[in-house]
Symmetry: C2
Subunit: 189 residues, 2 copies
Protein backbone atom coordinates (compact mmCIF):
# COMPACT_ATOMS: atom_id res chain seq x y z
CA UNK A 1 0.00 0.00 0.00
CA UNK A 2 1.47 3.31 -1.05
CA UNK A 3 1.59 6.31 1.23
CA UNK A 4 1.93 9.91 0.04
CA UNK A 5 5.13 11.62 1.20
CA UNK A 6 3.89 14.90 -0.24
CA UNK A 7 6.02 17.13 -2.41
CA UNK A 8 9.79 16.71 -2.14
CA UNK A 9 13.00 15.97 -4.00
CA UNK A 10 12.78 12.29 -3.14
CA UNK A 11 14.39 10.76 -6.24
CA UNK A 12 17.11 8.19 -6.00
CA UNK A 13 19.83 7.46 -6.83
CA UNK A 14 21.31 10.97 -6.96
CA UNK A 15 24.97 11.58 -7.80
CA UNK A 16 27.67 13.27 -5.72
CA UNK A 17 29.65 15.43 -8.11
CA UNK A 18 32.23 18.11 -7.43
CA UNK A 19 31.90 21.19 -9.62
CA UNK A 20 35.04 23.19 -10.44
CA UNK A 21 35.08 26.90 -11.36
CA UNK A 22 37.37 29.96 -11.28
CA UNK A 23 36.31 33.14 -9.52
CA UNK A 24 36.93 36.66 -10.83
CA UNK A 25 40.45 36.71 -9.34
CA UNK A 26 41.28 33.33 -10.88
CA UNK A 27 41.04 31.40 -7.60
CA UNK A 28 39.87 27.85 -8.26
CA UNK A 29 36.74 26.86 -6.37
CA UNK A 30 34.76 23.67 -5.76
CA UNK A 31 31.25 22.81 -4.70
CA UNK A 32 29.40 19.55 -4.31
CA UNK A 33 26.21 18.99 -6.28
CA UNK A 34 23.67 16.19 -6.00
CA UNK A 35 21.31 17.77 -8.50
CA UNK A 36 22.99 16.76 -11.76
CA UNK A 37 22.69 14.37 -14.67
CA UNK A 38 23.10 13.75 -18.37
CA UNK A 39 20.34 15.48 -20.33
CA UNK A 40 21.22 15.00 -23.99
CA UNK A 41 23.13 12.49 -26.10
CA UNK A 42 23.88 14.50 -29.26
CA UNK A 43 25.52 16.83 -28.52
CA UNK A 44 26.42 15.26 -25.17
CA UNK A 45 25.14 17.53 -22.41
CA UNK A 46 25.20 17.38 -18.63
CA UNK A 47 23.75 19.75 -16.06
CA UNK A 48 24.24 20.81 -12.49
CA UNK A 49 21.65 22.82 -10.56
CA UNK A 50 23.06 25.39 -8.13
CA UNK A 51 21.45 27.80 -5.72
CA UNK A 52 21.96 31.43 -6.67
CA UNK A 53 23.47 32.08 -3.23
CA UNK A 54 26.50 29.88 -3.94
CA UNK A 55 29.86 31.33 -4.87
CA UNK A 56 30.11 28.90 -7.77
CA UNK A 57 26.88 30.25 -9.29
CA UNK A 58 28.48 33.64 -9.94
CA UNK A 59 31.65 31.99 -11.23
CA UNK A 60 29.72 29.96 -13.81
CA UNK A 61 27.64 32.95 -14.87
CA UNK A 62 30.84 34.94 -15.49
CA UNK A 63 32.97 32.33 -17.26
CA UNK A 64 30.25 30.16 -18.82
CA UNK A 65 32.27 27.08 -17.95
CA UNK A 66 32.58 24.43 -15.26
CA UNK A 67 33.93 20.96 -14.72
CA UNK A 68 32.41 17.92 -13.01
CA UNK A 69 34.94 15.78 -11.12
CA UNK A 70 33.56 12.49 -9.80
CA UNK A 71 34.90 11.58 -6.34
CA UNK A 72 35.34 7.96 -5.36
CA UNK A 73 34.11 6.85 -1.96
CA UNK A 74 37.59 7.23 -0.47
CA UNK A 75 37.09 11.00 -0.91
CA UNK A 76 33.66 11.07 0.74
CA UNK A 77 34.79 13.36 3.59
CA UNK A 78 36.31 15.87 1.18
CA UNK A 79 33.18 15.79 -1.01
CA UNK A 80 30.91 16.24 2.01
CA UNK A 81 32.98 19.11 3.42
CA UNK A 82 33.17 20.85 0.02
CA UNK A 83 29.36 20.86 0.05
CA UNK A 84 29.23 22.57 3.46
CA UNK A 85 31.99 25.25 3.22
CA UNK A 86 31.84 28.33 0.99
CA UNK A 87 34.51 29.44 -1.47
CA UNK A 88 33.82 33.04 -0.49
CA UNK A 89 35.95 32.73 2.63
CA UNK A 90 38.17 29.71 1.99
CA UNK A 91 40.28 28.08 -0.67
CA UNK A 92 38.73 24.64 -0.87
CA UNK A 93 41.60 23.14 -2.86
CA UNK A 94 44.11 24.19 -0.20
CA UNK A 95 42.01 22.93 2.72
CA UNK A 96 41.27 19.57 1.09
CA UNK A 97 44.83 19.26 -0.28
CA UNK A 98 43.31 18.48 -3.67
CA UNK A 99 45.09 19.65 -6.82
CA UNK A 100 43.47 22.03 -9.33
CA UNK A 101 44.26 21.46 -13.00
CA UNK A 102 42.97 23.85 -15.65
CA UNK A 103 40.68 22.09 -18.11
CA UNK A 104 42.18 21.57 -21.54
CA UNK A 105 39.01 22.74 -23.32
CA UNK A 106 37.24 25.09 -20.88
CA UNK A 107 38.05 27.94 -18.50
CA UNK A 108 37.51 25.94 -15.30
CA UNK A 109 39.64 23.70 -13.08
CA UNK A 110 39.13 20.01 -12.27
CA UNK A 111 40.32 17.83 -9.38
CA UNK A 112 43.41 15.90 -10.39
CA UNK A 113 42.92 13.21 -7.71
CA UNK A 114 39.45 12.19 -8.95
CA UNK A 115 39.41 9.51 -11.64
CA UNK A 116 36.73 10.93 -13.99
CA UNK A 117 36.42 14.58 -15.01
CA UNK A 118 34.02 16.22 -17.44
CA UNK A 119 34.69 19.62 -18.98
CA UNK A 120 31.59 21.67 -19.81
CA UNK A 121 30.77 24.86 -21.64
CA UNK A 122 27.45 26.42 -20.61
CA UNK A 123 24.84 25.93 -23.31
CA UNK A 124 21.59 26.82 -21.51
CA UNK A 125 20.74 28.51 -18.23
CA UNK A 126 17.30 27.55 -16.93
CA UNK A 127 15.92 29.44 -13.93
CA UNK A 128 13.67 27.11 -11.96
CA UNK A 129 13.19 28.80 -8.59
CA UNK A 130 15.69 28.23 -5.79
CA UNK A 131 18.11 26.62 -8.24
CA UNK A 132 19.53 27.59 -11.61
CA UNK A 133 20.07 24.70 -13.97
CA UNK A 134 23.35 25.05 -15.87
CA UNK A 135 23.20 22.81 -18.91
CA UNK A 136 26.71 22.30 -20.21
CA UNK A 137 27.84 20.89 -23.49
CA UNK A 138 30.48 18.28 -22.74
CA UNK A 139 33.74 19.37 -24.39
CA UNK A 140 35.93 16.54 -23.11
CA UNK A 141 35.89 13.64 -20.66
CA UNK A 142 39.11 12.51 -19.01
CA UNK A 143 39.70 9.31 -17.07
CA UNK A 144 42.55 7.64 -15.24
CA UNK A 145 43.55 4.56 -17.24
CA UNK A 146 43.22 2.41 -14.09
CA UNK A 147 39.42 2.86 -14.08
CA UNK A 148 38.95 1.66 -17.68
CA UNK A 149 38.06 -1.92 -18.57
CA UNK A 150 39.73 -4.00 -21.28
CA UNK A 151 37.53 -2.40 -23.98
CA UNK A 152 38.43 1.11 -22.80
CA UNK A 153 35.04 1.72 -21.16
CA UNK A 154 34.63 3.16 -17.68
CA UNK A 155 34.37 0.44 -15.02
CA UNK A 156 32.11 1.77 -12.27
CA UNK A 157 33.51 -0.75 -9.78
CA UNK A 158 36.92 0.88 -10.21
CA UNK A 159 35.58 4.45 -10.07
CA UNK A 160 33.47 3.69 -6.97
CA UNK A 161 31.30 6.83 -7.17
CA UNK A 162 29.16 7.92 -4.25
CA UNK A 163 25.35 7.63 -4.29
CA UNK A 164 23.32 10.26 -2.43
CA UNK A 165 19.86 9.58 -1.06
CA UNK A 166 17.74 12.70 -0.59
CA UNK A 167 15.24 12.43 2.28
CA UNK A 168 17.45 10.12 4.36
CA UNK A 169 20.57 12.20 3.66
CA UNK A 170 22.97 9.28 3.29
CA UNK A 171 25.89 8.29 1.09
CA UNK A 172 26.20 4.75 -0.26
CA UNK A 173 28.70 2.92 -2.42
CA UNK A 174 28.16 0.88 -5.55
CA UNK A 175 27.06 -2.74 -5.20
CA UNK A 176 27.37 -5.76 -7.42
CA UNK A 177 26.78 -5.87 -11.15
CA UNK A 178 23.25 -7.07 -11.91
CA UNK A 179 23.43 -7.51 -15.68
CA UNK A 180 24.40 -5.84 -18.96
CA UNK A 181 21.99 -3.20 -20.26
CA UNK A 182 19.96 -3.56 -23.48
CA UNK A 183 20.12 -7.36 -23.47
CA UNK A 184 16.55 -8.31 -22.42
CA UNK A 185 15.01 -8.96 -25.83
CA UNK A 186 12.14 -11.02 -24.43
CA UNK A 187 10.52 -11.49 -21.04
CA UNK A 188 10.04 -15.07 -19.91
CA UNK A 189 6.40 -16.04 -19.41
CA UNK B 1 47.77 10.06 -15.63
CA UNK B 2 44.48 11.08 -17.24
CA UNK B 3 43.56 10.08 -20.74
CA UNK B 4 40.97 11.90 -22.89
CA UNK B 5 37.96 9.78 -23.79
CA UNK B 6 36.71 12.55 -26.07
CA UNK B 7 33.15 13.79 -26.03
CA UNK B 8 30.50 11.45 -24.62
CA UNK B 9 27.78 10.97 -22.02
CA UNK B 10 30.20 9.35 -19.60
CA UNK B 11 28.73 10.51 -16.28
CA UNK B 12 28.08 8.11 -13.48
CA UNK B 13 26.07 7.10 -11.58
CA UNK B 14 23.00 7.45 -13.83
CA UNK B 15 19.54 6.34 -12.68
CA UNK B 16 17.21 3.74 -14.19
CA UNK B 17 13.74 5.23 -14.04
CA UNK B 18 10.51 4.09 -15.67
CA UNK B 19 8.42 6.91 -17.10
CA UNK B 20 4.62 6.49 -17.25
CA UNK B 21 2.31 8.28 -19.70
CA UNK B 22 -1.06 7.90 -21.41
CA UNK B 23 -1.36 8.00 -25.20
CA UNK B 24 -4.15 9.74 -27.13
CA UNK B 25 -6.43 6.71 -26.77
CA UNK B 26 -5.79 6.49 -23.03
CA UNK B 27 -3.51 3.44 -23.26
CA UNK B 28 -0.92 3.56 -20.49
CA UNK B 29 2.68 3.42 -21.67
CA UNK B 30 6.12 3.06 -20.12
CA UNK B 31 9.66 3.83 -21.13
CA UNK B 32 12.98 3.56 -19.34
CA UNK B 33 15.11 6.65 -18.93
CA UNK B 34 18.68 6.96 -17.68
CA UNK B 35 18.87 10.68 -18.43
CA UNK B 36 17.03 12.07 -15.42
CA UNK B 37 17.59 13.83 -12.13
CA UNK B 38 16.39 16.38 -9.61
CA UNK B 39 16.98 19.91 -10.88
CA UNK B 40 15.36 22.21 -8.32
CA UNK B 41 14.50 22.12 -4.62
CA UNK B 42 11.81 24.83 -4.35
CA UNK B 43 9.52 24.06 -6.04
CA UNK B 44 10.77 20.45 -6.22
CA UNK B 45 11.46 19.61 -9.87
CA UNK B 46 12.72 16.52 -11.67
CA UNK B 47 13.43 15.94 -15.34
CA UNK B 48 13.66 13.15 -17.84
CA UNK B 49 15.23 13.61 -21.28
CA UNK B 50 13.56 11.68 -24.10
CA UNK B 51 14.33 11.32 -27.77
CA UNK B 52 11.69 12.88 -30.02
CA UNK B 53 11.28 9.52 -31.78
CA UNK B 54 9.87 7.83 -28.69
CA UNK B 55 6.16 7.20 -28.27
CA UNK B 56 6.31 8.66 -24.75
CA UNK B 57 7.62 11.99 -26.10
CA UNK B 58 4.35 12.64 -27.94
CA UNK B 59 2.34 11.51 -24.94
CA UNK B 60 4.08 13.98 -22.63
CA UNK B 61 3.78 16.81 -25.15
CA UNK B 62 0.02 16.18 -25.37
CA UNK B 63 -0.86 15.70 -21.69
CA UNK B 64 1.94 17.74 -20.06
CA UNK B 65 2.27 15.07 -17.40
CA UNK B 66 4.31 11.99 -16.56
CA UNK B 67 5.28 9.83 -13.64
CA UNK B 68 8.63 8.39 -12.61
CA UNK B 69 8.42 4.92 -11.05
CA UNK B 70 11.69 3.63 -9.57
CA UNK B 71 12.26 -0.09 -10.17
CA UNK B 72 14.16 -2.17 -7.65
CA UNK B 73 16.82 -4.55 -8.91
CA UNK B 74 14.38 -7.47 -8.84
CA UNK B 75 12.63 -5.76 -11.78
CA UNK B 76 15.80 -5.21 -13.80
CA UNK B 77 14.64 -7.41 -16.70
CA UNK B 78 11.33 -5.57 -16.97
CA UNK B 79 13.11 -2.18 -16.82
CA UNK B 80 15.63 -3.24 -19.46
CA UNK B 81 12.95 -4.63 -21.78
CA UNK B 82 10.76 -1.53 -21.37
CA UNK B 83 13.73 0.49 -22.64
CA UNK B 84 14.04 -1.64 -25.78
CA UNK B 85 10.39 -2.15 -26.89
CA UNK B 86 8.11 0.62 -28.24
CA UNK B 87 4.64 1.49 -26.97
CA UNK B 88 3.57 2.12 -30.56
CA UNK B 89 3.09 -1.59 -31.22
CA UNK B 90 2.77 -3.14 -27.78
CA UNK B 91 1.12 -2.62 -24.41
CA UNK B 92 4.11 -2.65 -22.08
CA UNK B 93 2.01 -3.03 -18.93
CA UNK B 94 0.35 -6.18 -20.33
CA UNK B 95 3.62 -7.74 -21.49
CA UNK B 96 5.46 -7.05 -18.24
CA UNK B 97 2.40 -7.94 -16.12
CA UNK B 98 2.89 -4.67 -14.27
CA UNK B 99 -0.15 -2.77 -13.00
CA UNK B 100 -0.98 0.78 -14.12
CA UNK B 101 -2.49 3.10 -11.55
CA UNK B 102 -3.63 6.59 -12.51
CA UNK B 103 -1.71 9.25 -10.61
CA UNK B 104 -3.71 11.04 -7.93
CA UNK B 105 -2.44 14.47 -9.00
CA UNK B 106 -1.51 14.17 -12.70
CA UNK B 107 -2.89 12.69 -15.92
CA UNK B 108 -0.36 9.83 -16.13
CA UNK B 109 -0.11 6.28 -14.79
CA UNK B 110 2.52 4.82 -12.45
CA UNK B 111 3.70 1.27 -11.80
CA UNK B 112 1.99 -0.13 -8.74
CA UNK B 113 4.68 -2.79 -8.14
CA UNK B 114 7.54 -0.24 -7.84
CA UNK B 115 8.10 1.10 -4.34
CA UNK B 116 8.68 4.81 -5.14
CA UNK B 117 6.63 6.86 -7.61
CA UNK B 118 6.85 10.54 -8.45
CA UNK B 119 4.01 12.42 -10.14
CA UNK B 120 5.07 15.32 -12.37
CA UNK B 121 3.41 18.16 -14.23
CA UNK B 122 5.51 19.56 -17.10
CA UNK B 123 6.93 22.95 -16.17
CA UNK B 124 9.58 23.51 -18.86
CA UNK B 125 10.40 21.85 -22.18
CA UNK B 126 14.05 22.37 -23.19
CA UNK B 127 15.10 21.27 -26.69
CA UNK B 128 18.74 20.23 -26.58
CA UNK B 129 19.31 18.28 -29.81
CA UNK B 130 18.57 14.56 -29.96
CA UNK B 131 16.74 14.76 -26.64
CA UNK B 132 14.02 16.95 -25.22
CA UNK B 133 14.37 17.70 -21.54
CA UNK B 134 11.00 17.57 -19.78
CA UNK B 135 11.32 19.40 -16.48
CA UNK B 136 8.42 18.42 -14.27
CA UNK B 137 7.21 20.00 -11.08
CA UNK B 138 6.78 17.25 -8.54
CA UNK B 139 3.12 17.15 -7.49
CA UNK B 140 3.34 14.13 -5.18
CA UNK B 141 5.71 11.35 -4.15
CA UNK B 142 4.34 7.99 -3.04
CA UNK B 143 6.21 5.20 -1.30
CA UNK B 144 5.48 1.75 0.02
CA UNK B 145 5.67 1.90 3.81
CA UNK B 146 8.10 -1.07 3.79
CA UNK B 147 10.84 1.10 2.21
CA UNK B 148 10.66 3.85 4.84
CA UNK B 149 12.96 3.97 7.85
CA UNK B 150 11.89 4.63 11.44
CA UNK B 151 11.89 8.41 10.84
CA UNK B 152 9.69 8.05 7.74
CA UNK B 153 12.55 8.71 5.30
CA UNK B 154 13.24 6.60 2.25
CA UNK B 155 15.76 3.82 2.94
CA UNK B 156 17.72 3.22 -0.26
CA UNK B 157 18.78 -0.24 0.93
CA UNK B 158 15.11 -1.23 0.97
CA UNK B 159 14.29 0.41 -2.38
CA UNK B 160 17.36 -1.15 -4.04
CA UNK B 161 17.31 1.09 -7.16
CA UNK B 162 19.37 0.23 -10.22
CA UNK B 163 22.49 2.21 -11.21
CA UNK B 164 23.27 2.57 -14.92
CA UNK B 165 26.80 3.13 -16.21
CA UNK B 166 26.93 4.81 -19.62
CA UNK B 167 29.96 3.77 -21.70
CA UNK B 168 30.16 0.27 -20.22
CA UNK B 169 26.37 -0.23 -20.46
CA UNK B 170 25.95 -2.06 -17.17
CA UNK B 171 23.47 -2.16 -14.31
CA UNK B 172 24.68 -2.30 -10.72
CA UNK B 173 22.98 -2.45 -7.34
CA UNK B 174 23.47 -0.27 -4.28
CA UNK B 175 26.37 -1.03 -1.94
CA UNK B 176 27.00 -0.32 1.70
CA UNK B 177 26.32 2.93 3.50
CA UNK B 178 29.46 5.06 3.68
CA UNK B 179 28.32 7.84 6.03
CA UNK B 180 25.60 10.41 6.69
CA UNK B 181 25.65 13.50 4.47
CA UNK B 182 26.39 17.03 5.73
CA UNK B 183 28.29 15.82 8.80
CA UNK B 184 31.91 16.61 7.85
CA UNK B 185 32.34 19.96 9.60
CA UNK B 186 36.12 19.77 9.60
CA UNK B 187 38.76 17.82 7.72
CA UNK B 188 41.41 16.12 9.84
CA UNK B 189 44.90 17.38 9.16
Amino acid sequence: MKKSLGVGTYALPSPVWVVGTYDAAGKPNLMTAAWGGICNSRPPCIYVSLRKATYSHGNIMARKAYTVSIPSECYVKEADWIGIASGRDTNKFTTTKLTPVKGSTVDAPYVDEFSIVIECRVKEVVELGLHTQFIGEIMDVKAESEVLDARGNIDIEKVRPIIFTPSAGTYHGIGKKIQDAFTTRELKK
